[in-house]
């Protein structure tokens, strides 16, 4: 455990000793504020329209805070797709490039400790990003009283989703010595997992359609956003994360054999 902590600590220091942590955090907080404001504007407009319609058709209930939080957190999930590769790109690729991987792999650490240390470090940074979205959410709580249930499940969904993406990015960073290549491949892989949804709508057979929809990384978030907790979605993200971690572990092992 102490070994894993040492790796997490070093990795977090590396994030915050380089500009990357600040750049990522700044852009993320800026974008989340921007999107929160634009979603807020859209929902207000919808409320205005529905108010006008209400005069003719009678009053209709509208959950404004719920719409805002749902819209905002869904948007955040898309922004994370773009930002996460930057957190994971250097995890192993930089170690390979600078030869420090040789230090890690000849220290009295198991490969699993190395993999978990790296994973948890990136996961910690991801959680910092996630926590930063509480700033606009706090404003929502300040001026309205949204239902907390769906917000909690949405955050749980985002957490699982983020951990799965971190694990995939971690694996991809073991494949190359070049961080940029790692980032681009991670980005591509995540895009594919996102866009299989679109392919699914055009799929011919119902089986392939079902399979492709199942693989889509964002479709599993919908229920979390609506406040529905379903085991199948939880299992999907956890499996994706475990596959990522397993592949990372195997990749390190094969790195040893290939030298």
């Amino acid at each position: 455990m102490r070994n894993i902590l040492a790796i997490i600590e070093r990795e977090l220091r590396a994030y915050f000793n380089s500009p990357i942590a600040y750049v990522v955090l700044t852009i993320f907080v800026f974008l989340s504020g921007l999107f929160f404001r634009s979603i807020l504007g859209q929902v207000m407009q919808m409320a205005l329209i529905s108010q006008m319609q209400a005069q003719q058709l009678g009053p209709r209930p509208m959950d404004m805070p719920g719409m805002i939080s749902r819209g905002f957190l869904s948007t955040m999930s898309v922004i994370m797709l773009f930002i996460m590769p930057m957190l994971t790109m250097g995890l192993f690729s930089e170690e390979k490039k600078r030869g420090t991987i040789e230090l890690l792999l000849t220290s009295p650490l198991t490969d699993l400790q190395v993999v978990l240390g790296k994973f948890l470090a990136a996961a910690t940074f991801f959680i910092i990003l996630l926590v930063s979205t509480w700033i606009p959410m706090a404003a929502l709580y300040l001026y309205s009283s949204p239902a907390s249930g769906p917000i909690l499940t949405a955050y749980l969904g985002l957490l699982l989703y983020g951990l799965a993406i971190v694990a995939i990015g971690l694996f991809i960073s073991t494949l190359t010595e070049n961080q940029i290549i790692a980032a681009v491949i991670s980005f591509g892989a995540i895009m594919v997992l996102w866009l299989v949804d679109v392919v699914a709508t055009n799929a011919e057979s119902p089986t392939s359609k079902g399979l492709l929809t199942y693989l889509s990384i964002l479709s599993h978030l919908d229920d979390f956003m609506k406040g529905v907790l379903s085991t199948s979605h939880i299992i999907f993200y956890i499996s994706l994360m475990l596959v990522g971690l397993f592949l990372t572990y195997r990749s390190i092992d094969s790195l040893r054999w290939r030298g």
């Binding site: 220091r13 600078r98 040789e102 230090l103």
Partner: protein, 317 residues
């Protein structure tokens, strides 16, 4: 302390190391000598458990590298060819991290880090960022890292590369001081380094061991015989026959004639100094002696002879 048995490492396209076996005793400094790409780094990486061998076994302090990798790694301090430095960290920060992953107990962390910095004389740069250090300092930070947690075995891949002559001298002195307490395996392609620091040398070429011995023995063994070149004036046939009849002389050859003087090469018996006898014989016969020089082979010659002998063997085959 280290037993390497029949170790082979195959890559997809080539054989990096083939059937290498040797032993290193406790407290010994063993030098690995060979041209670049001979398999030195691969052998060292196998001993440290960085990569598994395709065949054969390695035991360190009784532990098998493949079966008990963590026990082995706990006993080894390793300096890879490129010092494994996180350049954005400070020297102290880096060494503290390495100490932690090497399992130095919390209460000894500070004293251990201070100690290795003292031994490698890098205390004066302890708060500097590694990226900003000179090559010599970086190399010494790499050595300091290997010394952490006082491992009984040190594997140093090209420890003096990139250092200036003064630093090279310091590092060699440091390595010599480590002997006795630590078992050291170091690799180099610089010959004087081996002669100055190592108790025993392994010469490796194209993945195979071509010689193992002390630097002194290696020189004697390969030299075969003492070779002396002389320049004399006098009747050449008489000189040749009289010298050949001398005790201790194996052979005399004429190399060249220069202005009525003759340059000869005298081969003496192994480990027998015939230079004064030779001079007396020449002077007693009234010949003129212009030059007398013994030509010992340097380890460099031996090294070249060994590695090129292999080459010509291959061509013959």
């Amino acid at each position: 302390m280290i037993t390497v048995q029949n170790v082979t490492k195959r890559y997809a396209t080539k054989m990096a190391v083939e059937g290498v076996s040797f032993q290193v005793e406790k407290g010994e400094i063993l030098g690995f000598l060979g041209p670049n790409g001979a398999g030195k780094t691969t052998t060292m990486r196998i001993i440290t458990g960085y990569m598994p061998a395709s065949d054969g076994t390695v035991r360190v302090d009784g532990f098998d590298v493949f079966e008990n990798p963590i026990d082995v790694r706990r006993r080894i301090g390793y300096l890879p060819e490129n010092p494994p430095l996180y350049v954005e960290m400070t020297v102290t920060g880096y060494l503290r991290f390495v100490a932690k992953i090497k399992g130095v107990p919390k209460e000894r962390l500070d004293s251990e880090v201070a100690d290795v910095m003292e031994r490698t004389s890098i205390t004066d740069v302890k708060d500097r960022v590694i990226a900003k250090l000179s090559k010599g300092y970086k190399q010494r930070v790499g050595i300091a890292q290997a010394l952490l947690n006082d491992p009984p075995v040190l594997i140093l891949d090209e420890p003096t590369i990139g250092l200036d002559p003064k630093q090279i001298h310091e590092v060699r002195q440091l390595i010599k001081d480590l002997a006795g307490k630590h078992t050291v395996v170091l690799s180099t392609h610089i010959l004087p380094e081996v002669e100055q620091t190592c108790h025993r040398v392994i010469i490796i070429d194209r993945g195979k061991i071509v010689a193992v011995d002390t630097p002194q023995n290696l020189r004697l063994q390969l030299q075969g015989a003492e070779r002396i070149s002389i320049e004399v004036q006098g009747p050449v046939s008489e000189i040749l026959s009289k010298l050949r009849a001398m005790p201790g002389v194996v052979d005399v050859r004429k190399i060249a004639d220069i202005d009525g003087r003759h340059r000869l090469e005298v081969e003496g018996e192994l480990r027998k100094d015939i230079r004064s006898d030779l001079a007396r014989m020449i002077v007693q016969n009234g010949w003129g002696l212009y030059e007398l020089q013994s030509s010992t082979m340097s380890l460099e010659d031996i090294f070249l002879k060994l590695t090129t002998a292999e080459e010509s063997e291959k061509q013959n085959a």
